[in-house]
Symmetry: C2
């Protein structure tokens, strides 16, 4: 028993122990096939995202080796493929650009420290089971952030397509910077860039249907279509080398160091760590949210579950692995994970095999990349990120909820105008503020009995039975400090001015909490209603709320009663009222029409 308890704990922290034991030959073959396909896809992507992050191309390759092995050991998703991704690369460029100049050794050092910090943060969040914090990023904020990031990334790559110098971390800066130098456009570069763009868009849209039509099977057609960027890379390398285009001003990747990544401990510099802490936190959260949603989607397709807290540990280990092997922040990518899944990956071992593939590429293929134009890589990035841009979501969100739309629009505008960090922080703060604002002015309804049932609904929406002497208010929110005074005001408006009211019932079916401030308000309501000759009752108080009220003196002071159901309350109080009434008076119920 002791051993198995230990094993269960070990399996929680090292998921490899679970799937590793039953790992067989057939699974290995499937994983290997998937790994080959993902490797082919990852080589140009790794180079391109390193370019986007402002780092030398080999750093992208390094970030695609050890991190994949670390994830294979610690991660819980069977199909997630980690490595450099577009949005995190952009965030890296923004963060590192604030502390060092691009192209310097300090810039690389800072990127490595950023990966390390991000790894530490992710592991800490996982160990302390704080993964739920990511839930405070609402879907509209994430969607808006990714759309805006996609637009900025695409804009930032235009300079490579045009062959000019430009800089900026937001759309406005980029537009001004590019606009001012349009005259310096290098025409051979532009030709290569536009050619690659056109080819890649065509591949994305038309190649797979074409291959299927000529008789390839679906799986092979998929693989060939995904290899589009590799074809673009090969063709433009050939053209540049053959025609000597680098002499005509076409910027090429040049010498890429050959060999495995260098191992090193990240620099400890308190000042640098402090400067990078907030960016590292944002990168961690954004990377985790992106990764975990991909992982959950893929797991659901095979009826598997992932453990979000262990995912944090897995991604954290990947980032620490990236930093000790000369890489930069990584996370689970959407496109490559889908490819991995579709190609038949069954376990995280596929990731480890991919790592071997990329390692072989850094050992043997880097000399071939000498003549690769950066314009080709830029085209790869643009095609990849424009698929992330979803402007129709704005319309959908507007239709459903104005508050969600406001958060989404603010995230997009601030990301475009002030950069990724301002955008995401503004989105989170605004969505929380709007939620709090809504809870501070809750919906309230006077309710009556739905005829022929024990159910009570809003008098304004349903034909219900009400009483002039017994008024029931349903408040549709937990009672807490932000709305306690609002409730007081509403009750006074409703009851104090109407001399016919004898009983006031607060229907608590939607009250999930009553905090100390709200308790004081209820006490005040009780006293003021008492002064006005009205008894104060509660109905449908939930268990946890009642438990707490019993620990206060409120129930001793309450002038009325606490009823299990609103029906009990209405029946008992209406009966009370009719007993006290002179017999001549008409009956005390009436049908309130809409």
């Amino acid at each position: 028993m002791k051993t198995s308890g230990f094993l269960a704990r070990a399996e929680r922290w090292l998921p490899i122990l679970q799937w590793g034991r039953s790992y067989g030959r057939e699974t290995a073959v499937n994983d290997l096939v998937a790994a080959v396909i993902v490797t082919i896809m990852l080589i140009p992507q790794s180079l391109a995202y390193a370019l986007l992050a402002g780092l030398p191309p080999e750093v992208g390759l390094y970030a695609s080796i050890l991190p994949l092995v670390a994830y294979a050991i610690f991660g819980t998703s069977r199909a997630l493929a980690v490595g450099p991704v577009a949005v995190v690369s952009l965030m890296t460029a923004t963060a590192v650009g604030q502390v060092a100049a691009q192209g310097t050794a300090d810039y690389l050092t800072a990127a490595i420290v950023l990966a390390f910090l991000s790894g530490l943060i992710l592991v800490a969040l996982g160990v302390f089971r704080l993964g739920f914090l990511a839930n405070f990023l609402s879907h509209p904020v994430i969607g808006g952030f990714i759309t805006a990031s996609g637009l900025i990334i695409a804009a930032s790559q235009l300079k490579h397509i045009l062959g000019i110098q430009a800089s900026g971390h937001n759309l406005l800066d980029l537009a001004i910077s590019i606009g001012g130098r349009l005259g310096e456009t290098n025409w051979p570069t532009l030709a290569i860039g536009l050619g690659a763009l056109a080819f890649l868009f065509w591949v994305r849209k038309n190649l797979k249907p074409l291959l299927l039509r000529v008789g390839l099977n679906r799986r092979l057609a998929d693989v060939v279509a995904k290899a589009g960027p590799v074809m673009a890379v090969a063709v433009t390398i050939g053209l540049t080398a053959g025609l000597g285009l680098q002499e005509a001003g076409v910027k090429i990747v040049g010498q890429v160091p050959q060999g495995l990544p260098p191992f090193a401990v990240p620099l400890f510099d308190a000042g640098l760590w402090q400067q990078l802490l907030v960016p590292a936190l944002l990168i961690s959260v954004v990377g985790f949210v992106e990764s975990v949603s991909v992982a959950q989607t893929l797991a659901a397709k095979k009826r598997q579950r992932i453990d979000p807290d262990q995912e944090l540990v897995g991604l954290g280990a990947s980032n620490i692995a990236a930093s000790v092997s000369g890489g930069y922040p990584v996370t689970g990518g959407f496109a490559r994970s889908v490819v991995n899944f579709d190609a038949g990956a069954e376990t995280p071992a596929a990731g480890a095999f991919t790592a071997v593939g990329i390692a072989l590429a850094t050992l043997f293929l880097t000399p071939l990349l000498y003549f690769l134009p950066t314009a080709t890589l830029a085209a790869t990035i643009i095609v990849a990120v424009l698929s992330l841009v979803d402007l129709r979501a704005l319309k959908r969100t507007w239709d459903y909820s104005k508050a969600d739309f406001a958060a989404m629009a603010a995230t997009i505008l601030l990301t475009l105008g002030y950069g990724v960090e301002a955008g995401i922080i503004a989105g989170v703060v605004l969505s929380l503020a709007l939620y709090l604002f809504k809870t501070s002015r809750p919906h309230i309804a006077i309710v009556g009995q739905v005829p022929g049932s024990e159910h009570f609904r809003n008098v304004k929406r349903h034909k219900v039975i009400t009483s002039e002497q017994v008024v029931t208010l349903r408040v549709d929110e937990s009672l807490y400090f932000a709305n306690a005074r609002f409730l007081e005001d509403k009750v006074y408006d409703l009851v104090i001015g109407d001399p016919k009211v004898r009983h006031f019932v607060l229907m608590c079916s939607a009250v999930n909490e009553i905090d100390a401030s709200a308790l004081e308000s209820l006490e005040a309501i009780n006293h003021r209603l008492q002064d006005a000759g009205v008894s104060f009752h509660l109905s449908e108080v939930k268990g946890p709320v009642m438990d707490r009220l019993k620990r206060s003196h409120f129930l001793d002071q309450l002038t009325g009663r606490v009823f299990l159901s609103q029906y009990d309350a209405f029946r008992a109080l209406a009966a009370d009222v009719s007993r006290d009434l002179p017999p001549a008076k008409p009956r005390d119920t009436q049908v309130a029409a809409k």
Copy 2:
């Protein structure tokens, strides 16, 4: 009609038009009596709070003249007495101490700018009807803040009692500063300070009962007891002048300029304004909360109402008036308002009369204050603020709610340890964070039918009728981004693993909102339950929530139905299930015990 519409609008912004029209002789006499009593109380208080704020004594008097007139014109409370108060004086000292050295002309300039900024903020909040923002300060946070401020204020006055130099804006700094200079204690000052303290505590506790016992009527006894500080002032002035104690090192108030306050436009200095903006905001909010709660309490006693948004305008006008007449931030004070109310004030005119009283004092009485020891003023402050300290509230709050206790304790500790601004910001942030955390992990309950009723309650707390095939989950929170994934996980845990379940009902009686993120989660739940062969139903969806769901495609995709009441849902689905069942099987309901 046009005139009366205009008049109504004018009356909203100038409440003086309402009460002024019916102002008669009797009301004037009552207001005048109250004004005399409040004037006597305010003179030593104004001097003392100016000392607390680190300002010359006459500034306290100036802040008690024009602001009262402004409030009489714009304020809505009949009994509120505005002027310098302890907590706001402490906050002024903290804020101004960060930009200028005490005793310099810049210090006074900054205090005047602070009052002006605070006035502008208050008026803006009132005009834009943002008074509800003050509701985000929970009662435990306010209570904790006032208790901690009271302790800091009392500690800050010890140096005047001991006759030593000391400084600090938090308890630790003050303790270290005072502790290091205890050896420099001036014994005659200490004698005066302790004497005044002992006398004032005695007056507070014993004088009124004594006066009542010797036959004074209650009202006169009240007035005499409230004049305790004036007696202490008079006696210690006499002692100091008679014995020449200033020669023995007793610090005295000295020359106080005689005459009405100087009029001046506050300095416009963008840098200074920016530095004082956040403190001004905090002072505005704290001052408003303190003032409006006093005003509401007093208004309720006479069945009057106050208008919180107009109160903001009234307090804002008071602060602008303070700043143009050489004063510093003011607000409605608790003690003086109660005295004003008890003394019979019927309209804000009492405040205007008080202003005349203080103006007369600055014209004629200031030479008498030359020999007043600062130790006497310090004793006045200590006695006043210690009544604000309520440590028993900690115990009460702990018993009722741990979250409220945490917010209160954090506010007290941070205020004591890091000063007033850190304390109040931490309190607000923590109380909001705890609220959001709670809503991110809502209480959920599987419910069943209470036998003999149409009411459904938690199976764990009540003896209810349930069905193995029809599972109903009541989620006790609005569904929004922070808890959408939590709900998904809970539903999967509950339903996917149990092959007997045929129908899943989400009971929405406590769901006050479904935002865009939660809608996506509901869609995901619908799909996954469909895959598992379970229909997904909703019951007791509220009007506003249903209106919004109808604007999405969710209801078209929903595999089940939306029921008006949970009883309808259970009856219909249990009937569905029993029709499908082979007749041999036992009936599908059972009684679940606690």
